[in-house]
């Protein structure tokens, strides 16, 4: 073995033994350190996982959604627009969508009524989301009743429940037929909520959208890429916000680390004095202290990341849920797909190990340059 490695091995050996002799003191630091890593890692893993889910959902969204604006507000769009849009080269699968919200006083929640593009249930029947079924205690075969736009009572037979895997989007959904939708909300035939379309060549999406605005100045096309960007920056911003809140904790931790490293007990001081008296050099003491810091950091980092992994992917981040994902009466239940990558770990190390190491450099040097005679006298 090269002498350098051999030397570091002995230093590490000594450091471990010395730390084991004072385990109570190190335990406190490791506990606080682990807690810090745990909190930061939880925030990052959770937002990242939820961002990933949102990204996957948006991949299935239509490339362009066209809304009609009246006086700056979203209004119903006429079917005539669809033919003109379909005539634009490159646009395909142009389709009028029908969807809307309805407030249900029974559960004090908003439901999303939607006419699906394919396989719509027959008139008088609906498919409902799992969150809604839970809230209303409804099952297949039951009857759901709502008051329509004119106060008339509408009853629907529940024909099916939407799959639990899709709950993150379908928790509050009610899928129904077009006739039922129009009767329930009082929307005349020939009018739609908005229009969705696909574009054959992804590079032409912006061009197609420009042509739509040119042809119909009262419309607002929303691109999928714009939604993806908005979601991504929203989640980034949330992470950043939470981390800023924790900046105070990070500072407190750095002060604690500094204090722990600076405040040596008389016994430790004597130990350093003896080491130097028996021939250890200043660089050896610094190396030993560096190993001590590395061991503390590694232990705390690994423990913190493991705990955060369990917290986020095992318990769906019970502790930070309300802050990070928002709220709703019919909140979907979903399990996040576990995912950790090098990038997250690198960022986490920069946010925890770097400040810790920085805080201990100067006190460690002060310890290392102690004169043996000054402490052994």
């Amino acid at each position: 073995m090269p002498p350098w490695i051999e030397r570091q091995r002995h230093l590490m050996d000594y450091t471990l033994a010395a730390m084991a002799r004072r385990w109570g003191r190190n335990l406190g630091l490791v506990a606080v350190y682990t807690l810090l890593v745990f909190v930061l890692a939880s925030v990052m893993m959770f937002t990242d996982a939820i961002q990933r889910e949102a990204g996957q959902l948006l991949e299935q969204a239509p490339e362009v959604v066209v809304q009609r604006m009246v006086a700056g507000r979203h209004d119903l769009i006429s079917a005539d627009y669809m033919d003109a849009i379909a005539a634009i080269r490159g646009a395909r699968q142009v389709r009028g969508r029908l969807w809307g919200y309805h407030f249900d006083p029974v559960t004090a929640a908003n439901y999303t009524f939607m006419v699906p593009a394919a396989n719509a249930p027959p008139a008088g029947r609906v498919h409902i989301g799992a969150g809604l079924a839970r809230a209303r205690g409804a099952a297949v075969g039951d009857v759901l009743s709502f008051r329509g736009h004119d106060g008339a009572l509408f009853s629907f037979d529940i024909e099916g429940l939407l799959r639990a895997e899709s709950e993150i989007i379908t928790a509050d959904a009610i899928l129904l037929s077009e006739e039922d939708f129009r009767a329930f909300f009082g929307i005349r035939p020939g009018l739609f909520t908005d229009i969705s379309l696909q574009v054959r060549n992804p590079r032409e999406v912006t061009k197609v959208a420009e042509k739509i605005v040119e042809r119909f100045p009262d419309t607002r096309p929303i691109l999928r890429s714009e939604m993806q960007r908005t979601y991504a920056s929203l989640f980034d911003w949330r992470q950043g916000l939470v981390l800023t809140v924790f900046a105070g904790a990070l500072l407190a931790f750095a002060i604690l680390a500094w204090d722990k490293a600076a405040g040596l007990s008389a016994e430790e001081r004597r130990e350093i004095g003896i080491l130097k008296a028996v021939g250890w050099e200043t660089t050896d003491i610094i190396a030993m202290k560096t190993w001590e810091g590395a061991l503390v950091s590694l232990t705390a980092f690994l423990l913190g990341v493991l705990l955060a992994y369990g917290h986020v992917f095992g318990t769906s981040a019970v502790m930070f849920e309300p802050v990070l994902k928002g709220w709703a009466t019919l909140y979907p239940r979903f399990v996040l797909t576990p995912h950790v990558d090098l990038f997250q770990l690198a960022v986490l190390a920069f946010l925890t190990v770097v400040p810790y190491t920085a805080a201990t450099v100067v006190p460690n040097w002060k310890t290392a340059v102690t004169d043996p005679d000054a402490v052994m006298r």
């Binding site: 420009e210 714009e226 981390l243 990038f343 340059v369």
Partner: protein
């Protein structure tokens, strides 16, 4: 300003680094004025003690910088979806004029850091610290200013980033009002670059392998190493990227760090950067190794540094050849 953990981490690391480098610079001024190895005065003893602190501080800062370079690139890759027209890190770095200068300076800082660390390591092995003035002069005059400018540019880059998000005030199509960022790099013509690449890299490895035989070969290797680095980077943009992505127009040097391409980028960049850093460290230290005690140390350590650097260049060359051989892209001939 885009507000997210990686950016906060990079700004934090730069800030800590600058604080430490400022401390080290103040010390460097004192050292340059008062350093007298022959004297046994309290001043000299104090300075000698403090060099331990300073070299630890600077080592810490420079190691952080190595991590920061990687984090900076990975983060640029991550932010690509936030900008219209950006497909990968190239687009993100083009999002404002500070992007590529920040990256280039970060790379310069990486090599400066490596040179300083090699010099410090060798200097500590000589009993009389012959390079102490050179070391702290370099720190004060070059490393600290470059680090400060890098931190400033990076901050300017991050502060001027605006994600192209949907804003409710834009009544009509949002994306068209924004200029798309240039998402692509163009490279030199693949044919001649390929020849130049194999010529320069082959010569470097050959000179490195034979550097123990003659002093001029060692000198040649130390001069060729930086040239090999520049050629290699140009080659990555010009044709290696094309073979990796199996796409005749995708010149991005960053995408190959992603999982889609099996992280082959790390297999290329890690040996290349390390090899160049070691050779530069040896070369620059040799320029200042005038005293006999130092020459012996540099000679002895230089052999090992050159050996490792040559091996790493060879690994890089082998990796590139393997990528070209196994790629499904037929770029030249056919």
């Amino acid at each position: 300003m885009i507000f997210q953990p990686a950016i906060i981490a990079l700004v934090l690391a730069d800030f800590l680094g600058l604080v430490f480098l400022a401390m080290a610079s103040v010390f460097a001024v004192r050292l340059l004025r008062h350093w007298q190895p022959a004297s046994g005065s309290a001043m000299q003893l104090g300075l000698e003690r403090r060099t331990y602190l300073m070299s630890t501080l600077v080592t810490f800062v420079l190691l952080t910088q190595l991590g920061a370079l990687l984090l900076f690139v990975l983060n640029a890759e991550r932010m690509a979806p936030l900008f219209v027209g950006a497909m990968c890190a190239v687009g993100t770095l083009n999002a404002n004029p500070f992007g590529f200068p920040s990256l280039n300076l970060r790379m310069a800082l990486f090599f400066l850091a490596a040179i300083w660390l090699v010099m410090n390591h060798l200097d500590n092995r000589a009993s009389d610290y012959p390079l102490v003035r050179v070391k702290y002069g370099l720190l004060l005059m070059v490393v600290a200013p470059v680090a400060a400018v890098t931190a400033g540019l990076q901050l300017a880059y991050f502060l001027n980033l605006e994600a192209d998000v949907i804003t409710s005030c834009c009544g009509t199509l949002f994306s068209s009002d924004r200029d798309a960022v240039a998402g692509d790099l163009t490279g030199l013509a693949p044919g001649p670059t390929l020849v130049a690449f194999y010529g320069v890299l082959g010569l470097t490895v050959a000179a490195g392998a034979l550097s123990r035989r003659a002093r001029w070969l060692r000198g040649l290797f130390l001069v060729l190493a930086p040239a090999a680095f520049v050629t290699a980077i140009l080659a990555v943009v010009s044709f290696i990227s094309l073979y990796v992505y199996e796409h005749p127009h995708h010149h991005c040097p960053f995408c190959m760090l992603q999982a889609e391409y099996g992280f082959v980028g790390y297999g290329l960049y890690v040996p290349l950067f390390l090899a160049t850093a070691l050779a530069l460290g040896h070369g620059v230290t040799r320029l200042f190794a005038r005293t006999p005690s130092m020459t012996a140390i540099v000679d002895e350590a230089g052999r090992r540094l050159d050996g490792t650097a040559t091996a790493l260049f060879a690994v890089f060359l082998a990796a590139v050849t393997w990528l070209i051989a196994t790629s499904n892209l037929i770029l030249l001939g056919g």
